[in-house]
Amino acid sequence: MQLSKTMAYARAEEMMFGTCLYPVTTRRGMCLGGGEVIPEIVVHPRAGSEKSLKTLLREFERGYNDALERCVSIGHPHVCLEIEHVAQMTQKTEWGEDVAAQTVSLMDRYEERYGIVSGCRFTIADLRKPDMVHMRDSDRSQRVLEAIAACARHADMVAIESIGGKEIFDHAIIRNDVTGLLFAQAVLGGRDMQWLWPQIVAIAERHNCLPSGDTSCAHANTAMFMAGGYHGREIPHTLAAISRAISVSNTLVAYECGATGPGKNCAYENPIIKAITGVPVSCEGKSSACAHSDFCGNAIAAVCDLWSNEAVEYHSMFGGTTAAVFTEMLGYDTALMNTAINLGYEKELQACMVNSDRYRDPQSYILCPDIAWEIGKVVVEHHQSLYSRARAAALKCGELIFGDDKLQLTTYEHDALRHYMADLEKLPADEGNFIDLCLERYARIHGFRRESYGL
């Protein structure tokens, strides 16, 4: 497998929401990244609805029916429905498949009745728990692949949030251990994806379904979540920023294995991914506050092709169910962006988005298109290994954060980042040496087994 050597975009200024270099078209003919931003709504079943297949089907039917109904009610031209599996749907292949089949027939009904073209993405639950099973060779790995096949038969797109390296990541993130992050995310996570993704791509292609993408949710989003809020004290925000920069190395693997995009909504690293690959990406910011807070509510929309709410639990609000309410909001957000595109004001709107959050936090800073592009650049320049590109990204990330006076840091954040940079500098240049070092250092960590990663 070749690691990316070049940037898809020659300059950051060429990146814009709604357009990408390699748009994709779903089997229903919805084009993603072809000049229009499309809302992507995710509805989560309520507690208890996982009791039986019947109750689960009912819950999803309601949720996505409400979403489609709201679209035709106020005029949103397109919508993408994302369904994130709860564990039961991946565990029991038929459950996952039945939900997929039901969703597709709902979409067809709406298209027939109102002419609305929609798309759907199914995100399988990665059941492989690194500390309990062999990641490549266990019932659970089999189950995951079967679930993907079952969904791919019906869905427009399949995706996953793969969790390779999670066992080391969990240990490292609460210990300020940037070496551990590099090992967990780039070396382990990346290798796991190099094993997983060629299989997903093959399955998806067999069913004429798009193998859309992956995300570093198990790493960088965990870090982001812990680094939430100005007064949170779980982990430094600069560490979360570094984890995000590192995540590019692994998330990229999916595309290197043939994933086509759109990148998964929760991959906040997507602006960097888009800069390198040119695939369409889904992003989420202010309208995903229902799922988690972030510092880049507007900025993360700067180069998105789909715009998502991450996930909202189904229930009633005064204005309808959450499914309807968030579809309405996302659709208006995208209407604003699409209007900008059509008026020729997209650069101005993008500047508003970026300036809104650029200096709010290091985490938002590094996702602004120009900074994202620069991180992407060092990633492709250091294409020797998953590790070398991740380390380069981390170092560049720190450098950029320190390099901009307007990005103020508290003393604590400043000290923390200086520390990480020192640690990063000291690490070996070569992946082999780094792996040796880590295998020794992390051998004792609960649940870590090198065979899971072919090491």
Binding site: G75, G115, I116, N338, G344
Partner: protein, 249 residues
Amino acid sequence: MKYLEDNSLIFSRYDLFREQKEERTHRFSHDALLQEVAEHVIHGDDEKIITIVDQALEYKRPEEVIREGLIPGMDEVSRLWGEGIYFLPQVVLSADAMLEGITRCEEKMGRPMEKKGKVITHTAEGDIHDIGQLIVNALLRAAGYEVINLGVDVPVDLVVRSCQQHRPILLGGTALMTTTMTAFPRIAARLKHLNLQIPFVCGGGAVNEDFTAGFDLGIWGKEASWAVGIAEDALQGMTWSQIREKWNG
């Protein structure tokens, strides 16, 4: 300000799309002279209808005018509403016209027309949001029910007492505020206590299925027109739990 020439990428006018798909079927057939009575109902003309009904009453019995003129007219209106062709005000105006006509016939008969059954409606204690209730009332009346309208902000006590007094086939409640809908389970508990197993349809923005499922007698009424369907079922003798089973869940 710049304005776009083409908006098709920004929003889709699904209302226009659907309109194209529908053949608008205003056709209506009915013979004899009562046709005109029916047509005035259908067009919701509550002024002229009196004249026509008076004319008809000159050589038709009031029962006939009702049965073969007013009611078929209203049935047609229900059909048009059910098929998504008529809008609410058309239904309300037709109902107004029909009720005017019936009043005239009743005067002639010297007694009120027999109604299908009694329904009590009210808006919850503390709540003044009554548009939903007004719609429900109009649709129920249009369908031939006697509606006892207790109005808005109705104390729990009064609702219970009215049920004791009138023994309606159905009780309707409207609540738009989460802080007022709590009156419904209290009413239901009191009714049960009195062994009045009256199906209690609750509607209005605040109310949802989970809420009404939480107390006996409670049935969730999603749309105003459900009131009519549910009243029919109650009339057929279905119990509140059978009705809930059928309409909710």
